[in-house]
């Protein structure tokens, strides 16, 4: 990054302030806001990805030219996160049929739809 010889590392300070602000907003969204649950979850995850971006681009020098690594670091992170999404969403999707474990806690995503599907099979 360009700030190698600067006295004050502006980019790091901005990144730090951004991450603090985003953390506080996320915490407020959960504790203080009256948004619907779904929107809270979506917004806090958007903030999490933005924060990850701050770390990667402002702290970790991911796009640094002089590394000679070309686009490889960026490429690995991009595919890593893409695969992370596949692993998490794919597991939830695949395992969503939920063996009926008696009490239906909130975490059994899509459990209700699956019950309809099961009854369809029965017909």
């Amino acid at each position: 990054m360009a700030d190698t010889n600067k006295k004050v590392p502006t980019q790091h300070v901005i990144g730090f302030l951004l991450s603090l602000v985003m953390t506080l907003i996320a915490a407020w969204a959960v504790i203080g806001s009256a948004l619907p649950t779904m929107w809270i979850i979506i917004s806090i995850f958007v903030l999490a990805f933005l924060q990850a971006g701050v770390q990667l681009f402002m702290f970790m020098h991911i796009t640094e030219k002089s590394s000679g690594g070309g686009h490889v670091p960026w490429n690995m992170m991009f595919h890593g996160f893409a695969l992370a999404a596949i692993v998490v969403a794919g597991s939830l999707f695949t395992m969503s049929f939920g063996f009926d474990h008696g009490d239906m806690h909130g975490g059994d995503h899509g459990g209700n739809e699956q019950h309809e599907e099961h009854s369809n099979h029965g017909e």
Partner: protein, 203 residues
């Protein structure tokens, strides 16, 4: 192993070995993303399977202050770690050591709080064997904690080497790699904070 030495640019990139080491570490971080994603996937699928153990939302809500402090500790340590590398690139070995030591102290504070937190949950009856959900929680957060511990030990080794050898192509490459590792642990923590604690409070 053609040693194409560069004359300018950051020390850690000047030798071919340095560039390859850093590139290899980026690839390793790609693997780490998937490693943690698998733990997250397990956590997400097992969410709600608490059996007779306490529900996470109560425990998380009562401990939200501490979770926030932990998050700020780690965020700040990531920032100070960035400053350490900034100092290193200015050729200031002393600045590097100082800022890195601050980073490690913050990291130790984080670890202390995490141990306290785990201990607290265990007292409330939420243990590793108590249910599928709590198994997933402890292993996911614990794996991150273990990474932080390793990072601290690793950085201490490097500080000793800095004292012995000063800033060279090799030591600065090692410091740069450990800084990547430390920032990366912060990225993972952001997702743990969001995915476990914040989400656990609203669901």
């Amino acid at each position: 192993m053609a040693a194409e030495e560069l004359k300018s640019g950051p020390l850690e990139y000047r030798s071919q070995e340095g560039r390859m080491g850093i590139l290899g570490f980026w690839i390793f971080l790609g693997a780490e993303v998937v490693l943690f994603a698998t733990l997250f996937a397990t956590y997400a699928v097992l969410f709600g399977r608490t059996a007779d153990a306490p529900a996470p939302s109560e425990l998380f809500q009562s401990g939200v202050g501490m979770t926030l402090v932990m998050t700020f500790l780690l965020l700040t340590s990531s920032f100070t770690c960035g400053i350490a590398v900034h100092e290193m690139r200015k050729g200031n070995a002393k600045g590097l050591a100082t800022w890195l030591i601050i980073t490690l102290v913050l990291g130790l504070g984080f670890l202390g709080l995490e141990i306290y937190e785990f201990n607290h949950y265990v007292h409330e009856g939420a243990t590793l064997p108590s249910s599928a959900y709590w198994s997933a929680f402890f292993v996911l957060a614990g794996t991150h904690g273990l990474h932080v511990t390793l990072g601290i030990g690793w950085a201490i080794c490097l500080l000793i080497q800095l004292k012995q050898r000063g800033l060279t192509n090799v030591t600065s490459r090692k410091f740069f790699v450990v800084s990547l590792y430390w920032h990366f642990l912060d990225v993972i923590w952001i997702f743990i904070f969001t995915g476990i604690y914040l989400t656990g409070m609203v669901l």
